[in-house]
């Protein structure tokens, strides 16, 4: 279980997440893609903390912050989805066409 292996797994998760975020039509699935990417980020942080920092507690702190970011991302994402749904009865990305000048 070398650091390289951990980072490779994280890279795979990030790649999968990016694929999901780009390819999914549903807002909620898009959010899932983002979450999967953050999952990889979390793994990178914890892996680097455990393997290359002598266990500096700041690494754990960073992981906690990443978790907070995940929570914020989810909450705001769902709130936006709800707001969009209320306004336009839309739950897929294609339905939202007003974002241009």
């Amino acid at each position: 279980m070398s650091l390289q292996a951990i980072l490779l797994v994280a890279a795979a998760l990030i790649g999968l997440g990016l694929y999901g975020a780009l390819s999914q039509k549903s807002f909620v699935m898009l959010l899932m893609g983002l979450e999967l990417m953050l999952n990889g980020v979390l793994l990178i942080v914890v892996g680097c903390w455990s393997r290359s920092t002598d266990g500096d507690p700041k690494g754990q702190l960073l992981a906690i912050i990443v978790m907070a970011v995940m929570a914020v991302d989810m909450a705001i994402g769902f709130a936006l989805v709800t707001a969009v749904y209320r306004k336009r009865q839309v739950d897929v990305i294609e339905g939202l066409t007003t974002m241009k000048h």
Binding site: L18, A21, L22, K25, L30, I93, E94, L96, T97, T98, M99, K100, H101
Partner: protein, 634 residues
């Protein structure tokens, strides 16, 4: 524990402000209870000789401690503030009342800090806090634009003196490496002289001595209770108290005593005359404050700080009720012009109490203030009989304006207009202070006086029967003169020369004439000299340069012209060529660029699809590009 004396009112002020209630009774209760607690605390502190230290940094330690003298003042401050604050809660206007009370509490706390300070740094902190609070208090009714200006004026005036305080603190630190009073004894020579100069300057400015006196008039813009507190026990008292507290150290400088006496005497006499001709009730009292603090300066200069403090206490006890009474009278007629008052019928209780205080101001035995004035005269007499005489004369002057104040403000004029009597609390506040003034009469009893002297550890100056008789005579004469002035010239000081005198002998104008105008004149003269002298050289150089240039131009025409003709021929040829090929290039470049940009614009517009997934994709591509750029950069 001694810090509590400072913290208690400050915390109470903050709590009062935060609590948010505007009810008068509640405000009076909190402020009064705080002051009562402080009186108790100060008593315990004096009895238990408390002291405290606060380690700010290894270099800076804040000390507080009580000497007998400072204990007396520390006790006086809350004792006077108690009735004044209660009065303020019921007298002042409703808007901002909570802020006023909170600030007053803060003010009292700052004053206490100043009083109990045992080193120059603590003193400086208290001093600055008092100054800041006074600014806020004078400018309390800020909706009237003139009041913040007055506050600023007073603040700047006293801040000028504060520079002296900074100078003193720096000198002390430079000389002894410490701020503590206890280490001031190590100072010698220049640092000691600087310390004395600085402290004298700041004390004179705070205590409204000449030439700083005018700020006291401007300070009258504040509410009545603020004036009462300012003049009786805080702020103004700080100057005289400071000199009395540090007199042993300062008197080691030879010129300290003469300088102090000179300042004090000038202010006492000039202030007395100003008060006599003043037509504004509060300003009359303000001028009298300056005069009486001048007397205290004399006592300190003569080497009797305890006498100065005794007079400070007596003065606080009669000046506060006078201000409070003036406030009630002023509220009744909506202004402070003495000639319009004559409220003896309308306000019998207030008039009586004010009468007691006015007698004390006049220095009529057996009131305590008379004895302290005698003591100052006796102290002065030890230096020179003339000084004693001058003090007695100043006392006579105060009898004149005391009689004038009482006669004009609370004389019996027109029958009273039916109006609501002052609030019970207001009357009680004045009554309480007048009662204390009466109680101070006990000072005439030798046994009490001896006991007090023992308590304070001082010897009172020996009194002189002749001086006492002269004083009585002068007081009687003064009262008679004042009465006559009331009868014959009620309008005195409203116009003409007396009016000019009433404004501190035109000192503010004088300051303007003697300081600002000369500076301006000097500046313009300097500018003119600059033009005439310094500009001459550049002008000469310029003239020379012009001459040379003309010469060179004339010589060169021949040579240069030939070259120009040749150039013309060449240029013509070039232009003919350019018309054929250049035209095409010059047109083609911008047009081609414009076509490209418009194409790019159209393409860029196509990017804006309004579909989020495309934006997300662009974000991803942008992120990737950024990464590549960063990689290439490293």
């Amino acid at each position: 524990m001694l810090w509590m004396l400072v913290l208690l009112p400050m915390l109470a002020g903050a709590a009062l402000f935060a609590a948010g209630s505007e009810r008068r009774a509640w405000l009076a209760l909190v402020a009064g209870a705080t002051m009562a607690a402080m009186v108790l605390l100060a008593t315990f502190a004096a009895a238990g000789s408390w002291h405290g230290e606060l380690l700010w940094s290894p270099m800076l330690v804040l000390h507080v401690a009580l000497t007998p003298l400072s204990a007396a003042v520390a006790l006086l401050v809350p004792a006077v503030a108690l009735p004044v604050l209660a009065y303020a809660a019921f007298h002042e206007e409703r808007p901002g009342l909570r802020r006023l009370l909170a600030l007053l509490l803060l003010f009292v706390g700052a004053m206490e800090l100043l009083v109990i300070a045992a080193d120059l740094l603590t003193l400086l902190i208290g001093w600055e806090l008092v100054g800041a609070c006074s600014w806020a208090l004078i400018a309390h009714q800020w909706r009237d634009a003139s009041r913040p200006a007055s506050g600023l004026y007073a603040s700047v005036m006293t801040r000028l003196g504060d520079l002296g305080m900074f100078l003193a603190a720096m000198a002390a630190f430079a000389g002894s490496g410490s701020f503590a009073y206890a280490d001031l004894a190590q100072l010698h020579g220049l640092p000691l002289a600087l310390l004395t100069f600085g402290l004298l300057l700041s004390a004179a400015s705070k205590s409204g001595q000449l030439p700083f006196s005018p700020w006291l008039f401007r300070a009258m813009a504040g509410p009545t209770s603020v004036s009462a507190l300012l003049h009786a026990a805080t702020m103004v008292a700080a100057g005289a108290y400071l000199l009395a507290r540090l007199q042993p150290e300062l008197s080691r400088v030879a010129w300290f005593a003469p300088a102090t006496i000179a300042i004090g005497l000038t202010t006492a006499l000039a202030g007395g005359v100003v008060a006599i001709v003043q037509s504004h009730a509060k300003k009359l009292l303000a001028a009298s404050t300056s005069a009486h603090f001048g007397l205290m300066f004399i006592a300190v200069g003569a080497g009797y700080p305890a006498v100065a403090v005794a007079h400070l206490v007596a003065h606080a006890c009669f000046k506060a009720p006078l201000f409070l009474a003036a406030g009630i009278a002023g509220q009744r007629i909506d202004g402070y012009t003495l000639a319009r008052m004559r409220l003896g019928h309308a306000l019998p209780w207030v008039a009586t109490m004010s009468g007691v205080a006015a007698l004390a101001l006049a220095g009529v035995p057996p009131l305590g203030a008379a004895w302290t004035k005698e003591a100052i005269a006796a102290a002065g007499g030890q230096i020179s009989p003339w000084l004693a005489a001058a003090v007695l004369l100043a006392g006579g002057l105060s009898a004149v304006y005391a009689a004038r104040f009482q006669g004009l403000a609370f004389g019996f004029g027109d029958p009273p207009v039916q109006a609501e009597p002052p609030h019970r609390i207001e009357r009680m506040a004045i009554g309480l202070l007048a009662l204390v003034t009466l109680v101070l009469s006990l000072l005439w009893l030798p046994r009490i006086r001896a006991a007090l002297g023992e308590l304070l550890g001082v010897v009172w100056p020996a009194s002189d029967a002749l001086a006492l008789a002269a004083s009585l005579l002068l007081a009687a004469l003064g009262l008679a003169t004042g009465y006559l002035l009331v009868r014959r010239h009620p309008m005195l000081g409203q116009a003409g020369a007396p009016a000019a005198v009433a404004d501190w002998w035109g000192l503010p104008t004088l300051l303007r004439m003697s300081v600002s105008m000369p500076v301006l004149l000097l500046a313009s003269a300097a500018a003119r000299a600059d033009d005439a002298l310094i500009d001459a050289a550049p002008r000469a150089v310029a003239w020379l340069g012009r001459r040379t240039a003309t010469r060179i131009a004339r010589d060169d025409d021949a040579v240069v012209d030939r070259g120009v003709r040749a150039t013309e021929t060449f240029t013509t040829a070039l232009a003919v060529f350019g018309r054929r090929l250049g035209e095409r290039i010059a047109d083609g470049l911008p047009e081609g660029a414009a076509a490209l940009v418009s194409l790019g614009g159209l393409d860029a517009r196509r990017l804006q699809t309004g579909l989020s997934q495309h934006y997300v994709a662009m974000l991803a591509i942008g992120g990737a590009l950024l990464t590549v750029i960063l990689l290439l950069g490293s």
